[in-house]
Amino acid sequence: MYDVVVIGQGLSGMLAAIWARGEGKRTAMIMSGAGKIMQSTGVLDLIPGSRGTLDEWMKQYPFHSENKADVLQAVAKFKALTRELGYPYNGDVREPVPVVTGSGHIKETALYPDTVTPVPDRGHAVVVGFQELPDFQPLFISKNLQKERPLMTVDAIRIPLGEDSQRVLTQLDAARLLDQKEVRARCLRRISGQLADKGISQADFFVFPSSLGNEAWAQTLKQFSEGLGARVTEAPGMPPNATAIRLNDRLKLKAIRSGVRLYADTTVTGADIEKNHIRSVRVRMANRATDVAGRQFVLATGGILGGGLEVTPDGIRETALHLNTDGDGRPMNPPDNLFLAGASGGRQLTRHGIVGGVYSLVSSYASVFGLRKTVAGGMAK
């Protein structure tokens, strides 16, 4: 019997599990697939796909303005956790900042790790692409950035990352290559060479793919910013983004090390619900099926994109517990010991397919710290 059973290993699920465990709860996390942080950018937006303030966000999501202190507390807790993980996040949800994406367009985000630097209004930027990486084309990106930042000078250079590489790389592959000291040194030499060839000497902002090292991101960041004598940023875009993978790997490691029981490659196929109270969930693993009992359950299976909700010809279906849902996939009269984190709360919460990182973390926080209060707890009340 667990105190808390978390279903799902996206951002919402991992945070809920880690925080519940941190409160001394016996915690299990049931995971099928790889978790959706893998496909994300690793920066946490307020309202996905549009600019908006914290007040607008609170109006759009089921929060009330008196909860603002709670929201800020949740964010502070997330930032503290990332510092502890050795991958600190910066930013203030009250003041979103502009960041450049892997297309060169600018979007606003609220929370971002050390490898992402907000994009300035002016100065001289250089977009650096790697020949082996088709998902990040520097000239295209530089021109889009130039459109967005007319007062800036934007250049583009393109270097081979490998010595004599023959394969197409993803941003994550490139990040793993840059974990090697000699690859970084070679990379810097090539960048300097190209800058010299193009007569660029005043650049103060370098835009890279989301590839600045995986394990060795801190060394990469330091070596590049010192070597180039400028600020450096990753521009997350087409998945996989190293910006996100680092967060994923570190959260998972934290969950394991802190004693969360992980059920990997395990699918929840239903629940034993009595008087609107979940006693246990039925799970299927590679070679057996069993029940996982708990006092509290957190549904963090995601929305349509995450697979927690499935669109069928007859409507939207909740896939794990088979709860009754409304037309948006919002569970109707959910069990009293179930908490909905992230996009599992229904389609009405998503914008362009996702809820956004800030909602994920706040709803996870609410589901865990609501556990202390009344059963139905959480800020969504």
């Binding site: 937006d45 994406t101 998902d135 459109k147 087409m238 669109v311 397919g353």
Partner: protein, 540 residues
Amino acid sequence: MKKALETEVAVIGGGVTGTGILRDLALRGIKAVLVEQGDLGHGTSTRNHGLLHSGCRYAVRDPEAAVESYQENLILKRTIPGSIEQTGGLFVKVPGDDDAYVRRWLDSCGKLGIPVGEIPLEQAFREEPYLTKEAQAVYQVPDGTIDDFTLLIDVAADAVAHGAALLTYHEVTGIMTEQNHVSGIHVRDTRNGEEQDIYAPIVINAAGPWGMNIAKMAGVPLRIINNKGMLVVFSHRFNKRVINRLRMPGDGDIFVPAHDVTIFGTTGKNTDDPNDFSLNREEMEQMLTTGADLIPEIHQMRLIRAYSGSRPLYQKTAGKGSSGRDVTRGMALLDHGERDGLDGLITITGGKLTTFRLMAERTVDLVCKKLGSDAQCTTREAALPSRKSTDSFSGANLAPAARHKLMNWAGVRTPEFETSLKDREAANVVCECEQVTWAEIDAAIPGDGHLDLGDIRRRTRLGMGPCQGTFCNFRTAALAVEHGKAGTREADCALMRGVKERRKGMGVVATGETAKQLQLMQTIYQVSLGFGNEEEKQHV
């Protein structure tokens, strides 16, 4: 000064009919210009099943169309091997369908000389495991499949190689006449607005669903029923052969394998607007329910997109209340000189993809008569080159799947790709689903400021797979800028247009995995890549 150009024949419409006519004219040494309002085959010619009819489908209701189809089936298998897969086909009788029809059908196929043979049910179930076990009788017929994308490109290329001219993205704005004779057409470049006069003593209206618009400009009466059919694409190919339902032709009764997918359709609803490519969820659900009679597992299979196109059906009298299914699938060749007193104008309409060559032959025969030429049609024998290549692209550093695809794709362009693929980056696979390399995409970009991902898709299969361009459309647009083949704004616009078009076809089939994929596409573009504002800007 307005541009002008003189030729013998102006062909209106770059579908398979017009393109076939252009080739036939060129092979007979007649000067011709084809004018197409969009890209080649953007209409009905790429919005169909891709079925090479054996004629059996029409054996009872329309013996003339059936016989034409069968004869053309044999000719096309010989002359356009690069675009045809000789799959064979099955006609399957299921419970509840009329037994008397089967007898009439067998009788008619026999009389028409179309070879039909019953095969044992066990054999059919073994070869087509998804076929309903309720089947009562299964007959094999010489159906096949046509890749209409390669067909159009190859026919057009052959016409151009023989001296014909081709103007895509040019719309006809008027028909020039002198007394009771046409003298040419006014056209406008739809992209830069530039106008041009094309002087020609003969004008052929091969505009398919848009044919009535052309007739109207010429002031001649013409009644065409545009009968819109919806089709869906499954994520994989589950049938080896074409599977037809053995009954009077109706909705949702043909499954056609096409490369690695299966295409299923269709429906028939009349529409007044030739630009109506709308998709209807309810219509699709009904069609799938019907299809389950042949393939019971149909509802468990993943659909990746839907599309629709209109059959232009000719009606002699402008009768009301026709459903479209009872109008002939046969072709109509109209000499507006004889019919309406406007000499030099010819309309060719109706017909089938399978009979496009014959339509062209008959049309050009009439042209020759009018021009007093005795040049004979050669397209019964003159074959288009195959798409296969024996070269293994050994000089290129290619992924095995991409190599395999190129060896079944490059055809006569093998030497061109051999050269371009020597560049290491050109050999990179941009579209993983369909294994399209940058070399192929690069060769399909005109580089004239009009990057269009749909045009590239029709030439390379870019973005046709399960991810529907989520990854490769972005790469293609960005690479085009990188290689100086497109401007940034041009690339951004092409990308937004391309994503929107893919989303439309996915939206109507978006359940299960496809709904997930659609959301992923939206999230990546609108949120991760930050194109949200770009789209808003374009709407202003």
